[in-house]
Symmetry: C2
Subunit: 485 residues, 2 copies
């Protein structure tokens, strides 16, 4: 067992230790150890297990060994595996809090349904009324079906024939023109369509850049999405954590890296904007070091209490790669994003993409262009901003009434807030929430494994994901799970 896995508190209880010993091979030992962890309650119901790859790497065993052990435990009914939701501890197999069922008989096997339909966010929840307060996705029930369909229809009717042939890897010019106008107006991006490359989202942008256009090491914020770090690691890019404080990333501590990935408008997940002096400082750094800044503008449209924070890119378009998508503003199901590139990277990125568009569907590119040009995008963003602001206010009010000792931060913008907790209580709070059917993440899961800054305890509460009618019950369940003051 290495520490890196033990500390992945978003996935698995922070106090879990697996002993791979006893008779049989590694597979048998791992199966036994996991079964015992579930049986004893050390792994709570609905706890998500690490992906095969991560656990295999942490234990120094083959990925197939992990896969086989999981599969056996799914067949036995201890775990459930549902596509999109990963492998989790099954409902109803752990002891109630306070006692350990050492001799629990194996439960009735649940039919494994690896590709079952249904929301990946809710499919494997143990309770009948799951509450999804994980960050990262907008309210799927608010997708503007009628307006989107109108744009898609106009796009399909007006498209020239060549739109149905092989596509330009830069993306449709109609969309790049619409985005150039929108990003300049709404986000202060300095751009012409020729420097925009359409992609499938932020992760795709990272894949296009690394390792063939940019090389590591890449400085990153000490807290961020583990998924991005894994993707970079897969591309053999070393990430180096930058400490954070109340003014955002401490860019003055950039080392020998020539590239840094930031969330300047709204640090993810801790929630503040990068201070104006630091914005200027990191631009100076990039100019002096011939460096480049990747700006993840993941929720820049959703700002509630203050003047919008413009894109960092506006300070120096030749030093910043500005990356955005519709995943938070509209839907992650569309798989549409964009990169605004310094001139010198455009050809190289297109070279990586290939001679033809291999990723983003052209009719939906044209539909998004129409959606922006017709004003539907602005209307939708305004509507959702109102709605999310209302949810944030309800969260803050509920906490003030029910858990006044819990500080809530990062609420000026975005689709999530952070609840600060007393030291040492985060893991238990995540587990308590899970027992009440609330899925959410602790801060620890977002921490870079090599981070050296202090490690505050906290819960990341995504308030955008539930449908409007389900939000009140989710808040109620959350408040009930918080540690007493």
């Amino acid at each position: 067992m290495t520490d890196s896995w033990v500390n992945s508190a978003e996935r698995i209880g922070a106090d879990l230790h697996l002993e791979l010993s006893g008779p049989g091979g590694r597979r048998a030992a791992l199966t036994r150890a996991l079964r015992e962890a579930v049986r004893s309650g050390r792994l709570a119901p609905d706890t998500r297990l690490p992906p095969y790859r991560s656990l295999a790497a942490d234990l120094g065993i083959a990925r197939n060994t992990v896969a086989d052990a999981y599969a056996e435990l799914v067949a036995e009914g201890w775990l459930t595996a549902r596509q999109g939701s990963g492998t989790r501890v099954a409902a109803g197999v752990a002891p109630p809090p306070g006692r350990r069922r050492r001799d629990l008989p194996a439960p009735v096997p649940e039919k494994a349904a690896p590709h079952a339909p249904g929301s990946p966010h809710t499919a494997s929840h143990p309770s009948g009324s799951p509450h999804d307060l994980r960050q990262g996705t907008p309210d799927a029930s608010s997708f503007p079906r009628a307006a989107w369909l109108a744009s898609y229809r106009r796009a399909l009717q007006q498209a020239p024939n060549e739109a149905f042939g092989p596509g330009d890897p830069a993306g449709r010019v109609e969309l790049r023109e619409a985005l150039a106008e929108y990003l300049a107006r709404a986000r202060g991006v300095r751009v012409e369509p020729g420097r925009i490359v359409i992609c499938s989202g932020f992760a795709h942008a990272l894949r296009l850049l690394f390792p063939r256009v940019l090389r590591g090491p890449l400085a990153v914020e000490s807290y961020g999405l583990g998924f991005h770090r894994e993707l970079l690691a897969d591309a053999s890019v070393r990430t180096v954590p930058l400490p954070l404080d109340e003014d955002g990333a401490r860019v003055g501590e950039l080392g020998r890296e020539r590239a840094v990935l930031l969330t300047p408008a709204h640090q993810f997940p801790t929630g503040g904007p990068l201070h104006a002096e630091r914005r200027a400082a990191v631009i100076d750094w990039a100019r002096a070091r011939d460096g480049v800044i990747l700006e993840d503008d993941y929720d820049g449209e959703f700002r509630y209490d203050r003047r919008p924070v413009g894109a960092l890119q506006g300070l120096d378009p030749e030093r910043v790669v500005h990356i955005g998508s519709v995943s938070k503003s509209l839907s992650p199901a569309l798989r549409l994003g964009w990169m605004v590139l310094p001139e010198r990277y455009v050809d190289a990125v297109l070279d990586v993409k290939g001679e033809r568009e291999a990723w983003a569907g052209v009719p939906e590119q044209l539909a998004l262009a129409d959606f922006i040009d017709s004003g539907s995008y602005d209307r939708h963003v305004r509507r959702m901003r109102q709605r999310y602001r209302g949810r944030r206010d309800r969260l803050v009010t509920a906490l003030a009434e029910r858990a006044p000792h819990v500080e809530v931060t990062g609420i000026a913008a975005g689709l999530h807030a952070v609840l600060r907790l007393p030291p040492g209580t985060e893991g238990r709070a995540v587990e308590a929430a899970a027992r009440r059917g609330v899925a959410l993440d602790g801060l620890a899961g977002f921490r870079h494994p090599e981070a050296v800054m202090s490690a505050p305890d906290g819960l990341v509460v995504g308030y955008a994901t539930p449908a409007e009618h389900a939000y009140g019950a989710a808040l109620e369940a959350l408040c009930g799970a918080l540690p007493p003051g």
Copy 2:
């Protein structure tokens, strides 16, 4: 100069030699050598230059050096650069056939428009009436807009809310169910929805498989798409060419590889199906060696003169990865394809895709499901099969009348035919066609660089790409460009 570049006849005249000598650095020497090659006519108008990466590798110089040299020659007007079409020799700069203009003045610079809209297939053609007879894409003017829009509307109206949240990396179950039914019925694939993974097309399928699910070396047919070989090379997968004969790939000569990529229904590009005995033999090979066969079923629906050739996958679903897409049957602009996987690879491929759908747009997945379920897909394929059969017949008739000495092969199926040419005439025929405004490829461009089989001369004529009204003129121009009998 290495031979590999000299022999890339699809890109550049086979007799070109570049001497990087004289004053200045490598950039100046390369610029000078390329300028002279264009000026002297050794590089004909519209000849496509190799990508930066390829030429840089072949010459052993930096990619930026090649990029700079190209950029300079674009600025001078010798070359044109248009996105999606690569860098080409500009129109009007070469001498007429038969003489060399040693002292041609530099032409008026043409404005470089790297991201101009317009069809990548026609944008850089020198003549006012370009004819695109390159293989690989269906008639873009035949996209069934009304039927597709009807399916998209129904899909959007009927989708559950969760469809607009994060997607399942396996793809929507509605689409996998529709495909399972369709592929079983139309292609003889043995499949249930749980073994289908949706992807963006064949190239994406290769990226998902290599190198993280399967490892090289990978046996491939001696003739195939260079784009696929490059993609595999980028993934550090060595490809080993299998000889072809009139019965298709000589699978009895498989060496120590454990994986082979085949086009069993219609060898690409030479045109025949894999003989029944070889189909059986390669399945036997896979079983005996614990190997796997990748079946590229790129145009399996378009069979004209004989009983359909079923998918190889039907012989042993646990030994064949069956890969298809709508790129030939409907449009490459949709970026939708599928893999039918042996059970043992499903989890590994999904693991590579990640926890959420990162590529294929969900509304269009649902639209395709409706398009198949409603019968629109069958109707469209039947209509296009009729149309392409008519075009093939017109090609055969025109050749019989105008060039009876040219043998045409590979016409029982697909969207292209191969015209066999006398030895040593292929390069000149491609150039002659280009002078008449006909874009097509010679066989040499599809040949694996390490192939040891004989190298027949031939032209690959894609008859699907032109719009219906433009096809007659394209045929006329083609016949005029063929070598005399």
